[in-house]
Symmetry: C2
Subunit: 129 residues, 2 copies
DNA sequence: GAAGACCCTGGAGTGCGCTCCAGGTCAAGC
DNA sequence: GCTTGACCTGGAGCGCACTCCAGGGTCTTC
């Protein structure tokens, strides 16, 4: 009978992370549970683990700090009854992401203007050459 | 005759940075020139300095690493003749920013979906209460 | 039963981008 | 002439998020 679930190497490849990062997330309390082990003590990631970590990577890559992800994980681990707090945490993050998107977009506009002016200048030079 | 230009405190306030950060940028080669000093050795930021630093903050807050900003500053300091390289640097940054915006936007979509499901769940609870 | 591949733990190390001193100079106000 | 406050320099320190060992176990393959 083959062990169920993915090895840490497979999970890392699936999720686009490294094995070190997966161990670090677990040690740091970002996961919902200790990842189950096979008889020799190696981690076997199950679908539920992978799905949760996928959410973690989404929160992380939208800029949520580790400590907030941990807080959210704590709330989920605590079980039903704190849905308002979870929602508030996600909504606050959403607002922050929207703020950042707006800021980056605005700055990008100014940078693209500068790119345009370089392109124009180089075009002029070519034409006059 | 009053000294011309802004003090470091004023410049920091104008730009939304700290005095420490301004000194750090200068020491690290992100500026186009050593900021001019008043007779007692204090920095006086002139309009040209402030405008350049404003560009630096735009590059920084769209995620360009310090070392790339420094590289761009070096090109501009080197004077005319490297416009292609400057343009390439900015274009590469633009592509990276667009990639990130797309990624964040996609992840945000998934997070908003989750927010929606919490809102629905809480609404159900209220209704049944 | 030796070699190689994979995994384990605890803990140290790294890169980035600031941020914060300590100790000192200088100009203005009382 | 003394305090106060803003600024100076060089350099140490910090928070974050990993990343990288050293030393050791286990499983498979030959």
């Amino acid at each position: 009978m083959p062990s169920t679930g993915q090895t840490i190497a497979d999970a890392a490849a699936t999720l686009g992370l490294t094995a070190d990062t997966l161990r670090y997330y677990e040690k740091d309390g970002l996961l919902l549970r200790a990842v189950p082990r096979d008889p020799s003590g190696h981690r076997r990631y199950e679908t539920a683990d992978l799905r949760w970590i996928e959410l973690v990577t989404r929160l992380r890559s939208t800029g949520m700090p580790i400590r907030d992800v941990r807080r959210y994980a704590e709330l989920v681990r605590a079980g039903e009854g704190n849905e308002h707090e979870r929602l508030a945490l996600l909504q606050a993050h959403r607002e922050e992401v929207l703020r950042q998107l707006a800021e980056v977009t605005a700055h990008l506009g100014a940078i693209e203007y500068k790119i345009g002016s370089y392109e124009d200048r180089l075009l002029q030079l070519e034409r006059s050459a």
